[in-house]
């Protein structure tokens, strides 16, 4: 044929992207799901099942959204009250999005951030969830082989979203518990210089604020450091503010948009925000992602690219109406924060009672739990061993810190907003039992160094996702960890 022919048939060989593991499903972030999938907790049908605490969903306020929808049938294009709009809405495929939708999103973004900044509807670009937004922005800002710096620990999904099809790299800015994982300037500089020494071009920084998995918000000083560094190096700053509406406690949330407005000295062409309604509004199924860029060229490019992941106009129409209802959004955001705060307090207090500390946090749908004291040794292997025991013995699925690229073993992210109060209590009871038993064991085996690697506690979970998918072919999920298709 004159061309290089692979050993296998040409058609059997898919692309490098398709055959790589850039999809990220081999991460231990996803490994725990089989246990949950095979044995999901149900208060009545399966009270001994595995409780899902690895899924950062906000299920606390769906009743409020549901109620609004019932009271506003005209917002649906399929009801008698709304069907007159059906044709125009169903036919509309302009990638600018419905004007009312963009206006409503811009307004909601401002309110979710406590009113500290205003957002221009003209800069709102849609995407297929924040997953799509992250990929889109990576395509716009960086070439294959170039890199973004990212503070650890970070959401494992970024490894796929930012890198898989784009070929862009993510290089860590190491953060540590001694200063509550703060992003420091020396850490930034180190990360940047490390990249330079490896001849990797750094194109930007990606931060999540509030942080997943830490649940903390960036202070003004850190934000200014980031913006200043980006300016100095002429690189981009992408702020994923997907959890901005979940800030339930002081300190007050500061969005990068406020820095942009306060500091005209900095080049706003470098600043881009990723947002979504999946967490704040609790509607991940609706796939509403947003790129908000202060850079006109990026808005233009991202908008063209959004053709690959537009929001259904049926959904745009509904949300334009809902988020355009000022009364509703004000009440919703306040109530959501209140419920999250209460849930957070109950959960962390419950953990505290059994000697488990969490990183002090004021946002998000999870806690960053410190289980270092339960490790045999301060290694990733020990952390994963403990994690397997937690799944098997405690019947809780939570996410090991190593899957978030945390530099210190022993941290776990545990989600608390994706269940009702009773399930939360059950989870806490189980943790209490586990810790108490561990204490008894320790007392009885005071001289033994190993706590959890007793052979009888060995978990027979497959380590790798390939085995998982053979066993349960219908397993995997979108961007958040594996969720079984129940319908």
């Amino acid at each position: 044929m004159g061309l290089h022919v692979d050993d296998h048939s040409n058609y059997n060989v898919l692309s490098r992207i398709a055959t790589s593991d850039g999809h990220g499903e081999n991460s231990s972030y996803f490994d725990g799901w089989k246990a949950y999938d095979n044995d999901p907790f149900h208060p009545i049908d399966n009270p001994k099942g595995v409780i899902q605490m690895g899924l950062a969903e906000n299920q606390l306020c769906l009743d409020l959204t549901h109620q609004w929808i019932k009271q506003n049938p005209q917002a649906s294009i399929c009801t008698g009250e709304g069907v007159s709009e059906f044709k125009d809405v169903a036919n509309f495929q302009d990638y600018h999005g419905l004007p009312d939708f963009r206006k409503a999103i811009a307004r909601f973004m401002g309110k979710a951030r406590g009113g500290g900044a205003k957002f221009d509807p003209e800069r709102i670009v849609m995407s297929g969830g924040a997953t799509g937004a992250q990929e889109n922005i990576a395509f716009c800002l960086a070439n294959p082989g170039e890199a973004f710096l990212i503070p650890t620990p970070y959401y494992p999904g970024f490894d796929r979203d930012f890198r898989w099809r784009t070929g862009v790299q993510l290089l860590p800015i190491q953060c540590h518990s001694f200063n509550n994982f703060k992003i420091t300037e020396p850490a930034l500089v180190t990360a940047y210089q490390t990249a330079q020494r490896s001849n990797i071009t750094v194109k930007g920084i990606l931060v999540t604020n509030p942080s997943n998995p830490l649940g903390t918000t960036l202070d003004r000083e850190t934000l200014r450091t980031l913006v200043s560094f980006a300016n100095e190096k002429r690189i981009h700053l992408v702020c994923d503010e997907i959890f901005s509406g979940t800030v339930f406690d002081r300190p007050t949330y500061v969005s990068v948009s406020e820095i942009v407005e306060e500091e005209p000295y900095y080049d706003r062409d470098l600043i881009h925000i990723v947002y979504s309604l999946s967490k704040d509004l609790g509607v991940p199924g609706f796939r509403v992602g947003v790129i908000y860029s202060y850079n006109d060229a990026v808005v233009s490019c991202a908008r063209k690219m959004s053709s690959f992941g537009l929001v259904s106009t049926q959904t745009q129409h509904l949300l334009a109406s809902m988020l355009g209802d000022d009364d509703f959004t004000t009440k919703f955001l306040a109530e959501s924060r209140r419920r999250l705060s209460r849930r957070h307090k109950v959960f962390t207090a419950g953990l505290h009672r059994v000697g488990i500390k969490c990183l002090e946090s004021n946002a998000g749908l999870f806690c960053w739990m410190n289980l270092k004291h339960l490790l045999n040794e301060a290694t990733v292997e020990a952390e994963l061993e403990l994690w397997r025991v937690i799944i098997k013995e405690v019947k809780l699925n939570m996410s090991p810190g190593s899957s978030f690229h945390c530099s210190e073993p022993g941290w776990f992210r545990v989600c608390f907003a994706n269940m009702d109060d009773n399930t939360m209590e059950t989870a806490l009871k189980r943790i209490r039992t586990f810790v108490d038993r561990g204490n008894d064991t320790t007392a009885a085996q005071a001289k033994k160094k190993k706590k959890w690697s007793d052979g009888s506690l060995r978990l027979s979970l497959p380590r790798r996702i390939e085995e998982l998918s053979i066993m349960t072919p219908r397993l995997i999920s979108p961007h958040s960890p594996l969720v079984q298709a129940a319908t």
């Binding site: 692309s15 509309f92 799509g132 796939r287 298709a485």
Partner: protein, 440 residues
């Protein structure tokens, strides 16, 4: 570096390239329309949009259905239905919806092919489906072969972010622009000569912009060709429900089944509800692949472009009503045929020949006799006159990579009957003026 010394921060090469394709005349005409859109009452002298392949002829059927079936609109009375749906982000897609999509695709083909819901991967529109398949089947620098003329959007969808190239398979009016084995071979050899690896062939069936369904004979040849070359076949069947006579459509799925599913790992079908159901805003696309690895990879990749669960749920409900879908498909075909016959008659009246078509939302019109010179430039000059003088936005064949100058795609299903009549009058006036000028 001091701010101001370089106010332009580098974006990526993908961002700064123009492979997004919006500089093509395909889109330039839309600008003329956007600036001066026709409205029967408020702007009767405005530009009529005939460059948009939308299906607006059957909306009333959908509206009537929704009016009579309120259960399709909501999530039921209890909160649990809403909660489950709002939280549902599984990239397998709603089982019920996939089931209905599979059945709908079978209905369109009148049971001549079977579709397994487990092989359906949902994406936000066929735009995403085509790009996704390209990411999976080809590496940057590789190419896909596409018969010309083809939908201009492919230049963006298949190439922009993927880095994959398109090598055209030139088709000619001498045989109604049908794909020939010779043309396929020529394109393949050309790619080889350029040291570009061919990974697949993309066929749109029925064709956009031709408005013709590919014959079973040609499909067999195409399948033999891709098998012999050991490459993939993507069959974009987005207009499959818009064939005026349902028995004139042969899907590649039928050929695959007739061959006992032998060697079908290389076959992938793209579908969408944007044309057949006229719902482009809802972003409902699908990939149907006979290749397990492709299904798995596509499913994972669809994370970037899932269909709203709200929309999945509503459409699952609607498509489950078999009586409705049967009636809809039948009525839609009839109306499209009627429109098609009306416009081709009107064009004939104006002395314009169209390629005989049996599908789609458009005609492939031959204006070569009106060209000053049979070149791309001549075609674009004529097109400019049509946009600015006749005030009609139609799509020049060169934007579809047609190898012969003078062909234009004109859409007929995205406007009312009255508007179509106005458009035909303008075309007649225009051609008469042109002929008069030519005779001088």
């Amino acid at each position: 570096m001091v701010k101001g010394a370089e106010s332009c921060v580098p974006l990526s090469e993908v961002a700064t390239s123009n492979t997004h394709g919006e500089d093509s005349p395909y889109f330039a005409g839309w600008k003329a329309y956007d600036e001066d859109p026709y409205d029967a009452a408020s702007n009767p002298a405005g530009v009529i949009q005939m460059g948009l392949a939308e299906n607006q002829v059957s909306f009333d059927l959908l509206e009537k259905y929704l009016d009579q079936h309120p259960e399709a609109s909501g999530w039921g009375c209890g909160i649990s239905g809403f909660r489950e749906n709002a939280l549902f982000q599984d990239y397998h897609g709603l089982q019920a919806f996939r089931q209905e999509m599979a059945t709908f695709m079978e209905q369109i083909r009148e049971g001549r092919a079977k579709f397994d819901p487990e092989r359906i991967v949902l994406t936000a529109g066929a735009t995403a489906a085509n790009e996704l398949l390209t990411f999976i089947l080809a590496d940057p620098g590789d190419c896909l072969l596409i018969p010309t003329p083809y939908y201009p959007g492919f230049d963006r969808d298949l190439r922009w972010r993927t880095g994959v190239r398109i090598i055209p398979v030139h088709c000619s009016s001498s045989n109604g622009f049908q794909v020939t084995l010779q043309a396929l071979e020529d394109a393949y050899v050309k790619a080889e000569g350029m040291k570009i690896r061919v990974r697949g062939l993309l066929l749109t069936n029925p064709s956009n912009p031709l408005g013709t369904a590919t014959t079973g004979h040609v499909l067999e040849e195409v399948l033999d060709f891709v098998t012999q070359k050991d490459i993939h076949l993507i069959s974009d069947e987005i207009y499959s429900g818009s064939v005026f006579s349902s028995d004139e459509f042969v899907s590649v799925a039928e050929i695959v089944e007739a061959r006992g599913y032998k060697d079908c790992d290389r076959v992938h079908i793209v579908y969408s509800l944007s044309k057949d159901l006229g719902l482009p805003g809802f972003r409902v696309g699908a990939i149907y692949s006979y290749n397990d690895r492709v299904v798995t990879a596509a499913r994972r990749m669809s994370s970037f472009t899932l269909v709203s669960s709200q929309t999945q749920r509503m459409l699952a409900s609607m498509l489950a009503d078999r009586e409705f879908t049967e009636t809809y498909l039948k009525t839609n075909r009839e109306r499209l045929k009627k429109r098609h016959d009306f416009i081709t008659e009107g064009l004939k009246n104006a002395g314009i020949e169209c390629l005989p078509g049996n599908a789609g939302l458009f005609c492939w019109m031959n204006l070569a006799p009106l060209l000053e010179e049979p070149t791309k430039e001549g075609e674009l000059r004529l097109w400019s006159l049509i946009v600015h003088e006749a005030k009609l936005n139609i799509s020049p064949g060169s934007s579809c990579h047609c190898s012969e100058a003078g062909w234009f795609r004109v859409c007929f299903a995205n406007m009312s009957q009255q508007t179509l009549e106005v458009a035909l009058r303008r075309i007649k006036d225009f051609t008469e003026n042109m002929k008069a000028k030519q005779e001088k």
